[in-house]
């Protein structure tokens, strides 16, 4: 399953797991061992993914993954579809979430530049960027590879691009860990690499890539 969602930041008062479990419709299923991730289920009276209303009792349930940072200042919420998470955060549970959290932005271009300047634990598997150099002739570009930032062409021309989405993988193997967007969207496949995802999230926090 592809999990997609947002990185959110607290508006001041740190969040905790107990507060999350009091949110109507949200129920904690289990903590995922060895990580900061929890599995939740969210029950909604309306479909959130444009799916047909098949459930006879009118209930729709969706699995969610959530991760609270150790200081309660940041919350990552993911689901099987980006729109589901958006509906939960900005629709169904807006009275709970809006006063408490705001969408986080991720400095994707700066992150890419950093990986070029200081190669470290993560390599770039893809980049989407816009370019303002060529007017109407060329407006966006994408790069794919096992180590995009290692390509001289990419490094030499980075100043022509404004990167807004990036895929990261571990420098020592090829499988992609996750994908990030400037507007705080995050996605990855399955739950097998949650520890790697944690490493990336720590990296973003420690190196100041949240804006």
């Amino acid at each position: 399953m592809i999990y997609s969602g947002f990185v959110l930041r607290s508006r001041g008062v740190p969040l905790d797991r107990q507060t999350l479990t009091t949110v109507p419709g949200l129920s904690l299923e289990k903590a995922i061992a060895g990580t900061r991730w929890d599995r939740y289920r969210f029950g909604s009276l309306r479909p959130l993914r444009d799916e047909a209303q098949l459930e006879t009792d009118g209930h729709h349930t969706y699995p969610l993954l959530a991760r609270l940072s150790s200081d309660g200042g940041r919350l990552v919420v993911l689901g099987p579809d980006f729109n589901i998470v958006r509906s939960v955060i900005e629709g169904e549970l807006r009275p709970f979430f809006r006063p408490r959290v705001a969408r986080e932005s991720i400095a994707v271009h700066r992150l890419v530049q950093h990986i070029i300047d200081e190669p470290g634990p993560f390599a770039i598997s893809f980049v989407h960027a816009r370019t303002a150099a060529f007017g109407e002739s060329l407006k966006s570009v994408s790069f794919y590879g096992n180590d995009v930032s290692h390509a001289n062409f990419f490094r030499a021309n980075l100043e022509l691009f404004a990167c807004f989405a990036v895929g990261l993988r571990d420098s020592s193997h090829h499988a992609e860990i996750l994908r990030l967007r400037q507007d705080g969207r995050i996605s990855f496949i399955g739950t097998e690499k949650l520890r790697d995802v944690d490493r990336v999230l720590h990296f973003l926090h420690d190196r100041g890539f949240y804006e």
Partner: protein, 639 residues
């Protein structure tokens, strides 16, 4: 998310019981009870960002808490479900109305915690019973000494009143900015070194020349500073005592619009200045060798090399005096630049969402500043320059800069020949001097149009043609100038077709005609467009075509030696995008949504969200909020 922002007027009156505040639904209701003390300002309910309907009644006890300047996101999130949050264009841009004492106390505490300015008015059936204000901020004192020193400089007696006015104006502006918009202080103080340098004795100028220079600077600067400070800081604390003279905003002022304009101009000035395009052009003297540009084929690869982008500049001199550019709104000046001031029309405050009054027009004004700098490198102005240029025409150029100068002179000769129907020109330095004086303004305009088109419109002919002709449509009495505007528009678009040899003018004509017709179909541009279209066919086109051919060289110079893909990438870079979608250039901002206002590049934002010709106060308010708060990193917050 759909945009729905309801506009209401907030009215402050004096009645026998004291000061009265009320909401009314339209200026007519305010006017029908107007007194000598009445003040009004529009306030807006951001309905798309809140969940409940608002009440206009202030019957019984209420608290009206003004907070700002601050992006409304946090206030909407924290109290949007428990109070009415109104947005204004004043520096107190958030108004929280509640009858709940606890909510009002929370808002005040929160404002204090965040170091924000606030005023809480406690009212009983609209009568203001008590006003609580934020404590004044601590201020620096150094600037007072600096301005006082400037004001004591010896100056011709007749100019002293201007210098006194300047000192008082700047002091007022800085003192108020310290309290309200501290990040504006340094930009205001940048005027002082300039004034000192101009009034210092200059041995190269006669007394009269220097007097004229001082007079010109002080009159222009004083007018701009006066408007900027009165517009931005009216409506600041104490609100009841700081009336704005833009009368439909007399209660709260237009501070947010001024902050938005200021940030937009500052950003443009910064990104253009950072590229140091005149210096790059000057550095082309390092490309040695005999290059006769006039002999190159239209599609010679040389024209497409990013010469100025490849220039490696030495680090800038950090001691160099920062050039001030004072931005303000003016009903009379409209869009206008001088060396140190820039203005936008007052009507843009309520209509900048539309193509007629878009702030994108400022790019043209700022492009002029760069082009003037570039012309300083290649356009002969002094007699010594002209004699040297005269010689240049008769010897082989030694480097690329000399080649460009020579090519520019030859182009001006072609233009002169075309206009005067001459066989040849350029017989004497005197003739050359007169010709250069005559053509300077036109050369500057053509280069500016191409520069603006390539850098700021991304060479998008449709957006450019529709944009500039729609903005011209609202200027009265320019019918006589339509032919020259047609030529300038064609020159800008010609820069997209330079490799097409003999077809280039026809291709430019077709583009311009297509987009003017499109504009005409939508009835957006008025009679000037009809008139312009008549110059694109028949005998009128033949005359325009000849002018266009004569100006090819200017277009080439602008495209090949003033435009750089690398510089463009930096000038137009926007990192706050999240998709490659063409709509809104990848931004994910929703019009009317005040909860996410983040941008990095205000001019890209303005270009992406200006649409249509229907002026909307609400849509303009949202755009001005994004401009004022878009870079709302903590360091940029006005606290």
């Amino acid at each position: 998310m759909t945009s729905h922002i309801a506009e209401i007027l907030l009215v402050l009156d004096r009645v026998p019981q004291g000061r009265r505040i009320r909401f009314v639904d339209g200026i007519d209701q305010a006017v029908s009870a107007w007194t000598q003390a009445t003040r009004v300002s529009p306030v807006f309910a951001p309905h798309s960002s809140v969940d409940h309907s608002y009440t206009l009644s202030l019957e019984g006890p209420h608290h009206l808490t003004f907070v700002g300047p601050y992006p409304p996101e946090d206030l909407i999130a924290l109290w949007g479900s428990r109070a009415d949050i109104w947005l204004s264009l004043g520096v107190f841009n958030n108004l929280v109305r509640t009858a709940d004492d606890a909510v009002a106390a929370e808002v005040v505490e929160w404002a204090k915690e965040h170091g924000l300015l606030f005023e809480r008015w406690t009212t009983q059936s609209g009568i203001i019973e008590h006003i609580e204000q934020a404590a004044p901020r601590a201020t620096a004192s150094g600037w007072r000494r600096v301005i006082a020193t400037t004001s004591r400089r010896r100056i011709r007696r007749g100019l002293a009143p201007l210098l006194n006015e300047y000192a008082a104006l700047l002091s007022s502006g800085v003192a108020r900015a310290e309290q309200t918009v501290p990040t504006m202080v340094d930009d205001l103080l940048a005027a002082d070194p300039l004034v000192r340098s101009v009034i210092a004795h200059d041995p190269e100028l006669t007394v009269e020349e220097q007097s004229h220079e001082i007079y010109d600077l002080l009159v222009t600067l004083n007018a701009a500073l006066s408007r900027l400070t009165s517009q931005t800081f009216s409506g600041a604390s104490p609100i009841t005592e700081t009336e704005c003279h833009f009368w439909t905003h007399s209660l709260l002022g237009t501070g947010i619009a001024n902050i938005g304009l200021w940030k937009l101009c500052a950003r443009l000035q910064f990104v253009l200045g950072r590229e140091r395009i005149p210096e790059r052009l000057s550095a082309l003297a390092n490309y040695e060798g005999e290059i006769k540009l006039e002999n190159l084929d239209d599609n010679d690869p040389f024209w497409n090399l990013d010469r100025i982008g490849e220039v490696e500049l030495t680090p800038p001199d950090t001691k160099e005096v920062m050039v001030p550019l004072v931005p303000y709104f003016s009903g009379r000046d409209g869009f206008k630049t001088t060396l140190h001031t820039i203005s936008a029309p007052l009507v843009a405050i309520e209509a900048c969402n539309s193509k007629q009054w878009t702030l994108e027009t400022l790019t043209h004004e700022l492009s002029h500043i760069v082009i003037r700098g570039a012309l300083g490198e290649i356009y002969p102005t002094t007699m010594q320059d002209i004699e040297s240029a005269y010689a240049t025409m008769r010897v082989e150029p030694r480097n690329l800069l000399e080649s460009i100068r020579r090519y520019l002179l030859m182009t001006i000769c072609f233009m002169e020949q075309d206009r005067e129907n001459l066989e040849r020109v350029f017989d004497t330095p005197d003739y050359l001097q007169q010709m250069l004086v005559d053509w300077h303004a036109e050369v500057e305009e053509i280069l500016t149009h191409v520069f603006d088109f390539q850098y700021f419109y991304g060479a998008n002919a449709r957006r450019y043609v529709e944009g500039i002709w729609t903005s011209w449509s609202v200027i009265p009495n320019i019918g006589m100038r339509v032919p020259e505007y047609v030529v300038r528009t064609l020159c800008a678009v010609l820069s997209n077709h330079l490799e097409y040899a003999d077809e280039m003018e026809e291709r430019a004509r077709k583009d311009v005609e297509r987009y003017l017709r499109r504009l005409n179909k939508g009835k957006r541009a008025g009679r000037y467009v009809n008139d312009a279209l008549s110059y694109l066919s028949g005998s009128k086109w033949e005359a325009v075509y000849k002018q266009l051919v004569a100006r090819r060289g200017l277009v080439r110079i602008a495209k090949a030696f003033l435009f750089s893909e690398k510089c463009s990438a930096r000038i137009r870079a926007e990192y706050q995008v999240s998709s490659g979608n063409p709509e809104h250039e990848g931004y994910n901002l929703a019009r009317g949504d005040f909860t996410r206002l983040r941008i990095d590049n205000p001019i890209r934002f303005v270009g992406s969200y200006t649409s249509g010709t229907a002026a909307s106060h609400e849509a303009s308010l949202w755009m001005l909020y994004v401009l004022a708060f878009g870079d709302h990193r903590k360091a940029d917050r006005e606290r």
